[in-house]
């Protein structure tokens, strides 16, 4: 299992990495919330400390949950009820107070991951007369093949996977650029315009304040 340890205390991080590696997991460590938001896609589960170098763990959790449903176990020194409730409400899957016993940690890791079913990634998406083959990276719209750049393709896939639903700007940015909170907004708008221009048959509605929706007319 790939575990991402978000922990500002070096010795705790080292201990966690060491014991988890010994238990057969692959471990990566970040100390900053911004790094967590960049690297969460490589992890099957995140161990999150509530005190991070650049932000509060709960804020990091909120931002992470806006773009990803990766299982998160909060491991923290804060044992009060308020923090526990807030963390769980904000989307943590489990809450452990330091010091944590190893076997309990491993068991909880297993349990959380077991409950979390990784969303099935369809290899071929069909919306109305638009067909996207994710593996072959081809797009067919109204029977005609369309050529897209890699970024445009990623953007289309991100929207098409949620056809009929709203995809937030952060979700799309996270999936395509790998950073939901970076300043790539302008480039996002340019690429979205390109997609709209190349695929006139596909309706992508802007929902102000929420995100974008690829209309499913079928």
């Amino acid at each position: 299992m790939r575990v991402l340890v978000a922990e500002d205390d070096a010795s705790v991080a080292a201990a966690l990495t060491s014991v988890l590696t010994r238990a057969g997991h692959t471990c990566a460590r970040v100390a900053r919330g911004s790094d967590l938001l960049l690297r969460h896609r490589d992890a099957d589960v995140v161990l999150l400390d509530l005190g991070l170098e650049d932000m509060d763990g709960l804020d990091a959790l909120t931002q992470l949950r806006a773009v990803s449903e990766v299982p998160v176990i909060v491991v923290t020194a804060r044992g009060d009820e308020r923090s526990t409730v807030r963390a769980l409400r904000l989307g943590a899957d489990d809450y452990l107070v330091k010091p944590v016993r190893l076997h309990e940690l491993l068991a909880r890791l297993g349990a959380v991951v077991r409950r979390y079913a990784r969303p099935h990634q369809a290899e071929r998406i069909v919306v109305g007369d638009l067909a996207v083959d994710v593996v072959a990276r081809t797009v067919v719209s109204a029977g005609e093949s369309v050529t897209l750049t890699p970024t445009e393709f990623g953007l289309l896939v991100a929207l098409a996977r949620r056809s009929g639903q709203i995809a937030s700007r952060q979700q799309v940015l996270d999936e395509v650029w790998g950073d939901a909170y970076a300043a790539s907004s302008r480039s996002f708008d340019v690429h979205l315009a390109q997609v709209r221009q190349k695929l006139p048959g596909v309706r992508i509605t802007t929902v102000r304040g929420f995100g974008y929706r690829l209309e499913d007319d079928s």
Partner: protein, 452 residues
């Protein structure tokens, strides 16, 4: 404070008023004497003429006119002491005779008494009628009417008394204002000292009143703020320290858990784990204590009512029954009745924590074979008694001091924080913990709340 002030004011005002009153009476009396001397002089002149000519008819007529005009009786005697003329009801009696005798020695008897409001209506004066050669020819006795003068004096005195009263009131008002001004900072300081003693939030002491008190107020405010800061830091320190300990503890715990266990290392690892357990336990208890202390300071700062509410009605058995098996396993018996039922003013979780600590202590120090009795009484009072045998007086005095444990039990796993936690939780709920020797032999811990 008001009464002595009143007395002093009164004395001062009276000391001023009495001479003024006296002066008024004396002035009026001498004014009257002057008037009557002039009138008497007229009579004396006429009497001299009449007595010389031995014709008193004109004198008699004058006297009657005089009596009608002034309402004062007059008696004129000749040198033999016989009545030569008279007007009004002036009768010769001993007093008049004495006056006459004195006056006939050519001494005018102008002894008008000082006119006082409670004095008589009249006063008699006698003037000798002196002919040529300083020989007394007779005596004129005049009964002077004092009533008008008396009224004047009375009115004058009333006026003075009224002015005095006003003065007194003004004096009182002024001194009240002044004392209040002086005492206001003292009262504020008094309240502030009480607030600091009770660790309530301190409103700033107003710097008013005399300069000495102002500077005292300022000094006190500075001191109070510093004391409060120091306390706050101390409270914060416990929380921060135990918090900071958790990270290294977590790291050690994880690594120890992951240590490979070989047969020869097992004992060492077990010992490390045991110490680690103890360390974790102590850190936990320190956080519980810091939390309780935080609640105490919140309570002192905020409204008196702890918003965490109170536990539902419960009996001694409800409180202690969950420890029965644990006590029995160590050879102790638990006595806890199912009645009466009371509702102590603190949350159930705190109450359980408190009873845990007290029962743990009994378990640890009373020893096997002892009896632990939990009682609940109206008040509400909750008591935990044990029949332990080796409670010493100096133990009793030091009990509740942080990290202190009865010396001969250091081997046990106690943190020495239990009673401190109980104490803080009780304070946070507005109650108190009292430790005493139990009539049953061991320790009696009483949890007491004043009836709301």
């Amino acid at each position: 404070m008001l009464l002595p002030l009143l007395v002093f004011g009164l004395i001062a005002v009276i000391a001023v008023l009495i001479p003024v009153g006296q002066a008024i009476a004396q002035t009026r009396t001498s004014q009257l004497a002057l008037q009557r001397t002039a009138a008497a002089e007229q009579i004396v002149q006429r009497a001299r003429t009449a007595l010389a000519q031995r014709d008193t008819a004109a004198l008699q007529a004058y006297l009657e006119r005089f009596e009608r005009t002034y309402g004062e009786a007059v008696l004129v005697l000749d040198e033999r002491g016989d009545v030569a003329a008279r007007a009004g009801d002036l009768v010769r009696d001993d007093r008049v005779d004495a006056l006459v005798t004195a006056a006939s020695r050519t001494l005018p008897q102008w002894s008008l008494p000082t006119v006082l409001p409670w004095g008589g209506d009249t006063a008699d004066v006698a003037v000798p009628v002196i002919a040529a050669g300083d020989l007394p020819r007779g005596v004129v006795v005049l009964r002077v009417d004092l009533r008008e003068a008396r009224t004047d004096v009375t009115l004058g005195w009333l006026l003075v008394a009224a002015v005095g009263g006003l003065l007194l009131v003004a004096l009182m008002a002024a001194s009240l204002l002044w004392t209040r001004w002086v005492l206001r900072p003292v009262k504020a300081l008094d309240a502030a000292v009480a607030a600091v003693a009770a660790h309530r939030p301190l409103e700033s002491v107003p710097a008013s009143g005399p300069p000495e008190l102002r500077s005292l107020s300022r000094a006190f405010s500075r001191m109070a703020v510093e004391v409060e800061d120091a306390l706050e830091q101390q409270r914060g320190f416990v929380a921060d320290a135990s918090h900071q300990l958790r990270n290294p503890l977590a790291a050690i715990r994880l690594r120890v858990d992951a240590l490979p266990r070989s047969a020869e290392d097992a004992a060492d690892v077990a010992a490390v784990e045991q110490d680690l357990d103890r360390l974790e336990h102590t850190v936990d208890r320190m956080l519980v204590l810091a939390n309780a202390e935080h609640r105490v300071s919140t309570r002192r700062r905020g409204p008196a009512e702890d918003d965490r509410g109170r536990s539902g009605p419960l009996s001694a058995a409800d409180l202690a029954d969950r420890h029965r098996d644990r006590l029995a396993a160590e050879g102790l018996t638990l006595v806890a009745d199912a009645a009466p039922v009371l509702s102590p003013p603190l949350p159930r979780a705190d109450l359980d924590e408190i009873v845990d600590v007290l029962v743990d202590n009994a378990l640890r120090y009373a020893g096997p074979g002892a009896q632990v009795r939990v009682t609940v009484e109206p008040g509400p009072v909750i008591r935990v008694d044990d029949t332990g045998t080796d409670l010493r007086e100096d133990d009793l005095a030091r009990m509740g001091t942080r990290f202190w444990r009865a010396g001969r039990h250091h081997g046990r796993t106690g943190t020495g924080l239990g009673l401190a936690i109980v104490d803080q939780l009780m304070t946070a709920s507005g109650g108190r913990l009292e430790l005493a020797r139990s009539p049953e032999g061991g320790l009696r811990a009483s949890l007491r709340w004043d009836a709301a």
